[in-house]
């Protein structure tokens, strides 16, 4: 669906079904240099099983107008605003109870959004998160000077192994090459903006320690981009907060777990969502 946020075009995939009043809302936030389609194997299922889905394209990504936003705080504000605008656009008021699930950079967005405490937000899911999410100098330099080289690095490090079954979005597809092509689709300069936002975000551990809502950590066992150990401090901080914490590991998966292990990711979400949304 298309709508506007602050006068700019925005887009969210709704999983093949329109938003419906009375259904809990699941907001899906993609990572750096990606768009809504990374959630293909989770969003469509959830949309057909009782949830309203907003798989957003962040500003400057996919079908949402740019420019890409430069800070995690701005991204979180935009996501909260986008949810309200999307519900407005289809006449749903107030925003139904919902969760924000984010992958990688999107997980930082979800974490930061929790601090804004929108009334409708009942939980956050943090997939393949690292806190802090420092980006190596080598990768930042490549993002600035040679995006193709940066895409190669990201893609190789995001994948665990040569094959992934079942293929995503179905048999016969290459998870690896799709990820490369999806990165190529974003406008020049977006990657550096995204990575800079990740690199500069310093509030993550504080947010994790003050989570006002339940949280799911869904971490990929063979992740080289955001290895599980890079989420440990945030996990410990969340456990020390008042928020209920669920931690699920996906053994053998690389960073690109939404596509590499689509069923395990979906199953984790579909089992956790009823516990936080009723």
């Amino acid at each position: 669906m298309r709508f506007t946020v602050d006068g700019r075009q925005a887009y969210a995939y709704t999983g093949g079904r329109p938003l419906r009043a009375g259904q809990p809302l699941v907001v899906l936030v993609h990572g750096a240099q990606h768009d809504h389609s990374v959630w293909a194997m989770q969003s469509r299922y959830l949309a057909h099983h009782g949830y309203s889905i907003l798989a957003l394209d962040l500003p400057g990504h996919g079908r949402s107008a740019g420019p890409a936003l430069e800070t995690m705080e701005a991204l979180a504000q935009w996501v909260c605003a986008a949810v309200e605008r999307a519900c407005d656009a289809v006449g749903i008021e107030p925003v139904p109870a919902g969760v924000i699930a984010g992958h990688s950079m999107g997980a930082l967005v979800a974490l930061e959004a929790s601090a804004q405490k929108p009334e409708w937000l009942k939980a956050v899911a943090l997939l393949a998160i690292a806190v802090p999410m420092g980006v190596s100098d080598q990768l930042l330099e490549a993002a600035a000077s040679n995006e193709g080289r940066a895409f190669d690095m990201i893609n190789f490090w995001s994948s665990a192994g040569i094959n992934h079954h079942p293929g995503t979005p179905g048999p016969g597809f290459s998870t690896y090459i799709q990820n490369r092509r999806l990165m190529e689709r974003q406008a020049a300069g977006v990657l550096l903006t995204d990575f800079t936002a990740c690199n500069n975000y310093v509030a993550g551990l504080d947010r994790a320690g003050a989570l006002p809502v339940p949280v799911l950590f869904l971490l990929a066992g063979s992740d080289q981009m955001t290895p599980p150990k890079a989420a440990r401090k945030a996990l410990e901080a969340a456990k020390a907060s008042a928020a209920p914490v669920t931690h699920i590991a996906v053994p053998g998966s690389g960073h690109n777990l939404l596509a590499e292990h689509p069923d395990e990711t979906l199953n984790a979400l579909r089992q956790w969502l009823p516990t936080v949304l009723g």
Partner: protein
């Protein structure tokens, strides 16, 4: 050290798409000769049918053996995915039918395999899809042939019968100016000799019957999508960018930003036209792909030796092989196909039609048949077989002489092939 972006071609040719079978540990890809697959429960079944989950339902739509081949060829071509079909012709038809319909127009190279020409010129016209054929070397002709309803540009990496080398960069630029994709038939070249996506092509297909299988045993076709063509930005392909009533109003380009074409091709074309590949055939083609590099390098090495020998023979007036400096596309071939120009070429004998027949019938190692890309060397004399109804003038217009022969060079000892040809040349002259 340069950044590793992927695995090497030989590694992918052996491993891409295939993992040890989890139930038994079988290392080679099993042949899943089953029509259908048991659903764990009703919810999972419904999710598979609605593309909410990935998995196999019915072997016309996908099959575990076939999908290994599809993922392997996608990896070798650097595409986002592949679809295997019953033949190369089925692959071409599926590619066209996915994005064209009654009222659509195609611009195609006139240097095409006869079967492709038949499909475009005769059969698809009956269904309202028309084609303008152009000289593949003439950029102005490609451009002039474009119409508002043009939906596809199409040619072969190496054309038929003169082995015209397609300037993929030139033709893809013209296609993209017009916001339509370029489809390339890379049957003669395989990913070992050229990856058309690296030069601007958007879609590639193969007759896997030929070099990919490599042993002259089974029929098959494969389509691969680069994932680079922006169907939404084009605005010319509602099949991919607007709701499709035939599949739950799915908008394929929203469902997958980079794989919309293949989603529709599988969810509509493979489902409804049904030209799927047998798992047995997929297994045979996988066996061939595993040795693709080894075989293609030998094919090319042998073809070079045979072509050089023929070029020097007094009874031969012309050898059409881009690897030779005498070919008009030699420089382009050197740039696009530095590993070689394949193992299929034609040559002209200074004899009449009867002499051509004597030549073919005198060969002992070469097999006289209508195929290419076999481990065995093959020969055909178009004037007495595929084009026997044409008189000399009509043959000339098609670029075929009464003494034109087409060879597909196999994997035998090159010296034996040369000896066989020399012996037959003597008989042809007698």
């Amino acid at each position: 050290m340069s950044q590793k972006d992927y695995y090497g071609m030989d590694t992918l040719a052996v491993h891409a798409g295939a993992s040890p079978e989890p139930g038994t540990g079988a290392r080679a890809t099993p042949i899943y000769l089953t029509t259908s697959f048991v659903f764990p429960d009703s919810d999972h079944a419904a999710a598979l049918f609605n593309m909410e989950r990935s998995g196999h339902v019915y072997s016309r739509l996908s099959n575990p053996t076939v999908s290994v081949l599809e993922e392997r060829i996608a990896a070798l071509e650097r595409g986002v995915g592949g679809i295997a079909t019953a033949s190369g012709q089925a692959a071409l038809h599926l590619a066209i039918a996915t994005i064209a319909g009654a009222g659509s127009h195609i611009v195609a190279s006139r240097a095409l395999y006869g079967g492709s020409h038949n499909l475009l010129h005769f059969t698809l016209r009956r269904f309202g899809i028309t084609t303008t054929f152009v000289d593949p070397r003439d950029g102005a002709a490609w451009r002039a042939a474009l119409q508002p309803n043009t939906r596809l540009l199409f040619g072969e990496t190496l054309g038929n019968p003169g082995l015209d080398v397609m300037d993929i960069e030139m033709v893809s630029a013209i296609a993209h100016e017009h916001k339509v994709p370029l489809l390339v038939d890379s049957t003669f070249t395989t990913p070992y000799l050229i990856r058309p996506f690296e030069h601007g092509a958007d879609l590639v297909y193969h007759s896997a019957t030929k070099f990919l299988c490599g042993h002259g045993t089974v029929m098959g076709g494969l389509i691969v999508d680069s994932g680079r063509f922006d169907w939404d930005a084009s605005g010319k392909f509602p099949e991919l960018t607007e709701p499709y009533d035939g599949f739950h109003s799915m908008v394929f380009s929203e469902e997958s930003t980079v794989a919309a074409f293949l989603l529709r091709a599988r969810r509509e074309g493979l489902r409804d036209f049904g030209a799927c590949m047998s798992p047995m055939s997929a297994f045979q083609i996988l066996q061939g792909v595993e040795t693709l590099s080894l075989r293609m390098s030998r094919h090319v090495e042998n073809a070079r030796k045979v072509a050089s020998c023929l070029q020097a023979h007094p009874l031969v007036s012309k050898v059409a092989y881009p690897d030779l400096e005498s070919h008009p596309d030699h420089a382009l071939a050197q740039r696009l196909m530095p590993r070689g120009c394949g193992a299929v070429f034609s040559f002209d004998l200074k004899v009449d039609r009867a002499g051509g027949r004597r030549f073919v019938e005198s060969l002992e190692i070469f097999s006289h048949l209508a195929n290419v890309g076999d481990a065995r060397s093959l020969v055909i004399h178009p004037a007495s077989t595929t084009h026997f109804r044409m008189d000399a003038d009509a043959l000339r217009e098609a670029g075929i002489g009464e003494g034109t022969l087409r060879l597909s060079i196999g994997l035998e000892d090159a010296d034996d092939l040369v000896d066989d040809l020399k012996r037959a040349l003597k008989k042809a002259a007698s």
